[in-house]
């Protein structure tokens, strides 16, 4: 016989009590109240010849009742009567979630994670269903449920352990909330597939750092029957400082010494405060030039401006020294390069002529730290060097062109470029015909009675899309004194983007090959209209530049795991390759819009043939916040709180006790024992009553002298 609560057997010691009471009763039974005992000499109790124990049967019954009660409370059961636990009844559904984010690269964490996972896997019963997920940005199955079930029962744990051993932590930031939801839903799916009951558990093996993202848990209703057990890992070195790039301030181009700004953040539980920052020759190499000493108290961050080097080729990474953990100590930098390009202006007006279109155009073109666009003016009859013609992206034509120049421009349009045709008079109709390669293109000078206005505008078109908001869509304040009338219907594929209030087309887009011609049928110069002096002019010029593909540029800074969007300016085509930091190169398919393979930090080189772009990919800033999460944070987000699972020996003991509990619950021997106790007590009460009545008849009255 076994006992579920053997310590209750100690209660059987209480049988001593009735024996003692039976003995004590001998001396306390006869009592006499007396006025004063001050004159009574105390006597020694008389010894009787009888046994000191009276009412042996009563005593036995009382001892028996106590013994049975103690036995019942000890919850006895017979172990060999219990059948072996069936696999299905207690089979668990388990998801083991292993953190593989960059912060797990800290010393000892990954080994600890693998050891914990192996411990859990070894305690898995043969009927249990397990899947192992690795998570960083997203959770992905390392061993799916199907793979687990397909493997032989004896090899399942070994399979999962070997796969875990073959992998390692990545460089991505983690999204713990999403991972938990994925795991919970994986359990819910298996639940729908099979109705078999059994506990469902998620084992979370993670360093549970403060930078973990949990916000998605807020909107998730955590299933009640899924238990979350947290295996919290603790790093050997608490000190961790991180390095992140910070955006330039708005006045960056006015700085005397150009610099790159980086933020040095120190974890709250760090033991160190003094760090050094500077350009590094390699991720783990020496500083180039003098480093900057930075003092960052634990839990705080400092922004440091690292001056740019004279040699731009050496500026690849800024490194942090003085930290115990170096996974986030390198910021890969692609220094911004100021792009310069030009638009060609064909017109008869001089640059200083404040009545001419060029005067206003030059002042509307951008010139800032990232981009400088210059208007290069040519006389309409002048010949243009082919190189300049090729390099320019946008062309403005305001006066009749020489035929060869018009043909050259047409060639550029056919190659995909944009020509803005804004004739100052109807005399340019021939140029329009040459540009469009049509016969009989006719322009007619129109002179409205007072003034004309822009009437119908197509805000869907990219040119006017920036004005689509009703705040900016009012063009009625621009008065137009004169314009050129064009029969757009006669031009094939012409699309009227804006009309004058009289119904004549104002802006017409005519596709030419891969490019386009935009016919602006009124000039922006004050002789034609008030457009140049209105608030719409500069945005309109930027729209034109954007339409010509001159503004958008490949972004250069991303985090590990980001899908890097490839801008049209990059010109991805057949043969475009990406060179990874580890030296490997992959080819991108034609028409690819993004590149998702940036899974390690470093400088990626996007090579499109004619051009190449450097893209810096860095570890997410949240990975540097390695101080542990508050213990109740998962509960606050709705997931059940962290519960440290018992170790393997304890689990085995629990298993044994669980089986014992089952057997005890089935046999319920305590009921019989309780019944026997009650029976003994009933008999004892009856016997005691009978004895008392008998002795009551014979006993003298208390306090009465005989």
């Amino acid at each position: 016989m076994n006992f579920l609560a053997p310590f209750f057997l100690l209660g059987a010691l209480a049988v001593a009590a009735p024996i003692v009471f039976h003995l004590i009763r001998r001396t306390t039974r006869e009592r006499t109240t007396f006025s004063s005992v001050m004159f009574l000499p105390p006597s020694l109790p008389r010894l009787t010849r009888r046994s000191r124990l009276e009412h042996i049967l009563l005593l036995v019954l009382r001892c028996l009742a106590l013994g049975l009660l103690a036995l019942g409370f000890a919850r006895p059961f017979i172990r060999n009567a219990a059948p072996a636990p069936s696999g299905s009844a207690g089979s668990r559904r388990v998801v083991i979630l292993v953190d593989a984010s960059a912060s797990m690269r800290r010393k000892g964490l990954w080994d600890a994670a693998r050891a914990r996972a192996a411990g859990i896997l070894r305690s898995i019963g043969p009927g249990d269903e397990v899947s192992v997920y690795l998570f960083s940005r997203k959770a992905a199955p390392l061993v799916s449920l199907e793979q687990w079930n397909e493997a032989p029962a004896a090899d399942r744990a070994a399979l999962a352990i070997s796969r875990l051993a073959a992998t390692g932590p990545g460089w991505e930031g983690d999204n713990l909330g999403d991972a938990l939801i994925t795991a919970a839903e994986a359990l819910a799916d298996t639940e729908a597939g099979k109705k078999a009951p059994g506990p469902r558990q998620i084992f979370l093996i993670s360093d549970l750092k403060a930078g973990s993202r949990l916000d998605s848990l807020q909107s998730y209703d955590w299933p009640k029957n899924i238990e979350l057990r947290v295996e919290s890992l603790k790093a050997a070195n608490p000190t961790n400082a991180g390095l992140q790039l910070v955006a330039d301030p708005p006045d960056a181009d006015r700085q005397a010494v150009p610099s790159i700004r980086v933020r040095v953040s120190n974890a709250a539980d760090s033991a160190r405060e003094q760090f050094r920052v500077g350009w590094g020759r390699s991720p783990g190499g020496d500083f180039m030039g003098a480093p900057i000493d930075v003092y960052v108290p634990p839990g705080q961050s400092r922004v440091v401006a690292v001056p740019v080097l004279p040699d731009p080729a050496g500026m690849r990474q800024i490194v942090l020294r003085g930290d115990d953990e170096d996974f986030d100590n390198t910021a890969y930098v692609v220094p911004p390069v100021k792009r310069r390009w030009s638009v060609l202006y064909f017109g008869a007006d001089a640059a200083g002529d404040s009545h001419g279109p060029l005067f206003f155009l030059q002042r509307a073109l951008p010139d800032d730290s990232r981009l400088a666009v210059k208007a290069v003016e040519f006389a309409p009859s002048a010949s243009v060097p082919p190189a300049e013609l090729q390099e320019a992206k946008l062309y403005f034509v305001t006066d009749p062109l020489a035929p060869e120049t018009a043909l050259a421009l047409r060639a550029q349009m056919l190659a995909g470029k944009t020509v803005v045709f804004a004739p100052r008079s109807a005399l340019a109709a021939g140029t329009l015909g040459r540009l469009l390669a049509i016969e009989g293109a006719a322009l007619e000078d129109a002179q409205p009675r007072d003034y004309a206005m822009f009437g119908e505008i197509d805000f869907q078109h990219p040119l006017f899309a920036p004005f689509a908001d009703p705040h900016y869509s009012d063009f009625t304040k621009i008065h137009i004194w004169k314009y050129r009338r064009l029969n757009a219907g006669a031009i094939p594929a012409a699309r009227v983007l804006a009309k004058f209030d009289g119904g004549d087309p104002a802006i017409v887009e005519i596709p030419v090959g891969g490019g386009r011609l935009l016919a602006l049928l009124t000039g922006w110069n004050p002789d034609d209209s008030q457009l140049a002096v209105s608030s719409k002019f500069v945005p309109l010029v930027y729209s034109l530049l954007d339409l010509a593909g001159g503004l958008s540029e490949q972004a250069t800074q991303y985090q590990v795991g980001d899908a890097i969007p490839l801008s049209p300016a990059a010109g991805v085509s057949e043969g475009t390759t990406v060179a990874r930091p580890d030296g490997s190169t992959i080819a991108l398919p034609a028409g690819a819009t993004s590149f998702g393979g940036a899974l390690q930090p470093g400088i990626y080189l996007l090579n499109t043939g004619p051009r190449s772009f450097r893209i810096g990919v860095n570890v997410a800033a949240s990975e540097s916040r390695t101080e542990p999460l508050p213990p109740d944070v998962l509960e606050r987000y709705g997931a059940p709180g962290p519960r440290n699972p018992p170790d393997a020996a304890l689990a085995a003991r629990r298993q044994v006790s669980l089986r014992g509990e089952e057997a005890e619950g089935r046999q319920k021997l305590w009921r019989w024992l309780l019944g026997a106790t009650l029976a003994a007590l009933l008999i004892e009460s009856a016997l005691a009553g009978w004895t008392a009545r008998r002795s009551g008849d014979t006993l003298p009255q208390e306090g009465t002298p005989t």
Binding site: T27, R31, F34, S36, V37, P41, P42, S43, P705, T706
Partner: protein, 316 residues
Amino acid sequence: MIGTSDSSQLRSAALIDPKALMSIRDLELRARVVVEGFWNGLHRSPHHGFSVEFTEYRQYTPGDDPRYVDWRVFARSDRYFIKKFQDETNLRCHMLFDQSRSMGYGSAGYSKAQYAATLAATLAYFLHSQGDATGLLTFDEAVREYLPARHRAGHLRQLMLALEKPPGGRSTNLADPTGRIAALVRKRGLIAYISDFLAPLDRLESGLMSLTACGHEVTVFQVLDPAELTLDFGQASLFEDMESARRVYIDPAAARPEYVSRIEAHCAAVRSICERLGIGHHRVSTEQPLELALFEFLKERLQRGRWSPAAARNRP
């Protein structure tokens, strides 16, 4: 006159069995029964009236009340004399009544407290019927209640109610009540001390001395149960003190000789204290008829010359 012949006459008269007397629930009725029976034994006198006893003449001194000048003597002797009387009706009797728990003991079907209350009530009724004022002070470990000596309607009833209160307290303090009554009663009077005196006697003598020093006439009634005197119990048992709840295992057969000698020594000590102070001591057993106690009391008074049967007969 009551003399020795009278006492034999009393004894021969039908005395009331205390057991029968105690079966009467009303204390006042019990007292009346005793007193009436007592008077019957004395052959009640047919004379009625009010009387004062002349004691002596004294030379008048200025300041004396001229009302008490005996003008007849003045006529005869031409001198002023003041006539002095013994004011019998102004006798003030105070009873010190023990209400400690030890008084609650009784082996005869009634307790010592009941018996003592009847004794006190009898005295009170007797004195009241003579026109004397009676007061009461009850005590246990401390003084419980004090009723000043009065003679008026309703006072006797109050007295009875106070006497009927159940015993209490955890001990008996024999000295404090004497000190308290000495402080409260300035005028000389009669003090009847009714108790079992089953308590240490160390301060009793000084207490009683303070009463006699004040000029009070003190009479002690020591009320004891017969079982307390003989320890007539059968088998050995735990004896529990009624006051202190102390328990002592006693085999009565073995303890009896020593106990009897101790209790007798104690009673003798009480008696010797009383004798030293000239105080009457009456050991009253609860199986003894109450009339005998009353008779002893009156006999003592008579011996001291403080009471005359003639005056008693003149009761209203």
